[in-house]
């Protein structure tokens, strides 16, 4: 496959961004090298290379972390704040939703908040109910925030560089269980535009729209479906807010069928929004109703068989696709 992991490519994107622009800062729990450069080493080497004034480990205090990121960005810097796990963003929701997202609008455009919040999550690591949730819909539902979730090393690099360049707050979601997935190494300086999806594989019978780890699961499903004579088109959404309507609608117009897959629970999820927009625009072109495939509507469970059954996997995606064509 490739020669770089998602984790390494995030580290490289941070290092390259800090090298290119001295206003780029990193802050968060354990991010500096004396604290191991992050609990999984995503930020390893940065404080040694760029100094502990630019790469600062913080107390376990998410409101203080996001608040400091907002304030320093108002002072002209471009901070990348790590909120270790996505569930911990809930502790800082006031700073994210009431302040980061709204200051540009409420100030009439006089100020803006160019911050990136990196956060990891994902089921499959037996972390139970408070360390594994996908909460992207909460942020996508807030005007003023962008949300991205890469599925491979090259996109992780390119989206992170774009997120750091972006003049508005971006939530950058990392999937813990696939940190060590390898892929092609991105070229230095590579950018993936926020809001632009990627067609992973072209097909004609149905469109599968996924992001983050679900792209890997869907890719396996698409392979299996091909063996059954079903031609599925796979779209890696990459950005959830804003999302690439143009690419999705063009694909579904062609195939007439769609399944939206995410690891977040199904009700009120991103799949509901995407499905609704497809129905609003392509009602008469659809051969069947758009399907949503998300996690069970319960907290992420601990016990292994429960956790294995919680989120969609390749087999579930394959089954849903086959059922759509039956």
């Amino acid at each position: 496959m490739g020669n770089i992991t998602i984790l390494e490519s995030i580290n490289r994107a941070l290092a390259d961004a800090m090298e290119a622009d001295e206003t780029v800062l990193v802050l968060g729990e354990d991010v500096a090298d004396p604290e191991d450069g992050g609990v999984l080493g995503v930020t390893k080497g940065l404080s040694t290379r760029f100094g502990d004034h630019r790469v600062r480990s913080t107390p376990i205090a998410e409101q203080a972390i996001v608040g400091a990121a907002i304030g320093v960005s108002l002072g002209g810097y471009k901070p990348v704040a790590e909120i270790m796990l996505m569930n911990f963003t809930t502790v800082a929701m006031d700073m994210i939703v009431n302040h980061a997202a709204k200051l540009r609008f409420m100030s009439g455009g006089q100020t803006n908040v160019p911050i990136v919040i990196r956060t990891m999550t994902g089921s499959g690591f037996a972390n139970g109910g408070q360390h594994s949730d996908y909460l992207e819909a909460w942020f996508a539902h807030t005007a003023g925030i962008k949300v991205v979730a890469p599925s491979n090393p090259s996109d992780a690099y390119g989206l992170l560089r774009s997120a750091i360049d972006d003049p508005d707050p971006v939530i950058f979601i990392e999937n813990l269980p696939t940190y060590f997935t390898k892929g092609e190494a991105p070229e230095s300086g590579h950018r993936v535009p926020i809001g632009k999806a990627h067609i992973v594989r072209e097909g004609s019978d149905l469109t599968i729209i996924a992001y983050a780890k679900m792209v890997q699961e869907a890719a396996a499903a698409v392979e299996a479906l091909a063996g059954r004579g079903i031609s599925a088109e796979l779209i890696d959404l990459r950005s959830i807010a804003p999302w690439d309507r143009e690419t999705v609608l063009a694909s579904v117009k062609k195939t007439g069928r769609a399944i939206v897959v995410h690891e977040a629970v199904t009700p009120f999820g991103a799949g509901a929004e995407i499905s609704s927009v497809i129905h609003e625009n392509l009602f008469h072109a659809l051969k069947s109703p758009v399907q949503r495939l998300g996690a069970a509507f319960c907290p992420v469970p601990f016990s292994r068989p429960l956790e294995a059954a919680f989120a969609p996997d390749a087999a579930a995606i394959e089954a849903a696709a086959a059922a759509l064509l039956a």
Partner: protein
């Protein structure tokens, strides 16, 4: 308190000018709402004029403040122009924020007013970040975070003070203790007898001053701001004051002890300081009367300007959400 000389005459008169402006502006705000000329949520700062007036006397234009919904006094003391302020209160396109922020979200970077929050406790974590930018720039700027006594019970206060101390940030936390958190009395909601005592938990100086006394407040603010500017870290100032009105305009304030309130109003810090200035020979009656008349005229102009200004175009709904307007 230090034994250093107090502010000179020019500074004292400038402090009084801010206080007189805040008082007159507050009286006018309530009148304008009462007569139905404007509809807005209004949190009167009456009674708390001294604090930002004395603090701002130690700040430069380039220094930052973050304040809260009860913050018109903080904004005016820092120099937000009256016309821009009133146009924002009236929701007009000529306002500080094009009418999109309103009274609880006045922002005016030119005078250093970076954030006005409607969320109790949220001025402090952001003030830290602004202070961090000054620390990185080594530009000597100081950030002041204003908040009320009620905010000292919320988590953000504790997270922010801890971080400011650990990072030795050039920030000054100014708690305006007006004895009330919304409708609940200080002692009923706050375990510490003094907010200033909480500074000890964060290894920073905590000073309680009479926030209705100009000289005392000025001296404490000067020490804290100089300390921050010198890179010696944050200070928590608890400035004791009293809110003359209910939490929000229209609140009948039945929960406030009428005797205590009357006593506070009888000791109104604005006329008290005015009298002192004259008594001490820092200013003459005629000079102050002329200043007050000029302030009244300036407020008249600002209100006329605001009410004659256009409302923002409805297209503004799609602007300033992101840098690029949504398609």
């Amino acid at each position: 308190m230090t034994n250093r000389p107090g502010p000179d005459t020019t500074t004292l008169v400038a402090i009084y000018r801010r206080m007189a402006l805040i008082k007159a502006n507050d009286e006018r705000s309530r009148k304008v709402i009462m007569t139905g000329r404007l509809v807005m949520p209004y949190y009167s700062p009456r009674g708390q004029e001294v604090i930002p007036s004395a603090v701002s006397a130690n700040l430069n234009d380039s220094d930052y403040i973050c304040t809260i919904y009860r913050g018109t006094h903080d904004m005016l003391a820092k120099g937000v122009p009256l016309k821009d302020l009133w146009a924002e209160l009236a929701g007009r396109v000529t306002g500080t924020c094009k009418g999109k922020g309103g009274p609880m979200h006045i922002t005016h970077p030119k005078s250093g007013v970076m954030v006005t929050t409607g969320i109790v406790g949220s001025s402090m974590p952001i003030a830290n970040g602004l202070a961090w930018s000054s620390q990185l720039n080594r530009d000597g700027r100081v950030t002041v975070a204003y908040f009320g006594d009620g905010a000292s019970n919320i988590g953000a206060f504790h997270e922010a003070l801890n971080l400011a101390s650990v990072w030795k940030l050039p920030v000054v936390f100014v708690c305006q203790n007006n004895e009330w958190g919304e409708h609940t009395a200080y002692a009923k909601a706050t375990s510490a007898p003094r907010v200033a005592d909480r500074a000890a938990s964060y290894s920073m100086p905590g000073v309680r001053v009479d926030g209705n006394d100009v000289l005392e407040t000025f001296a404490a603010a000067r020490d804290a701001i100089e300390r921050a500017r010198a890179g010696d870290g944050p200070t928590l100032i608890e400035a004791m004051t009293y809110r003359f009105h209910g939490h929000i305009f229209g609140d009948a304030d039945a929960y406030m002890d009428p005797e205590r309130k009357q006593a506070a109003i009888a000791a109104d810090p604005v006329p008290r300081f005015r009298g002192w200035l004259i008594e001490q020979g820092h200013a003459g009656e005629a000079e102050l009367a002329a200043m007050e008349a000029a302030i009244d005229a300036e407020i008249d102009d600002a209100i006329d300007y605001a009410l004659a200004s256009d409302f923002p175009d409805v297209a503004e709904l799609g602007r300033d959400v992101f840098a690029t307007e949504a398609a």
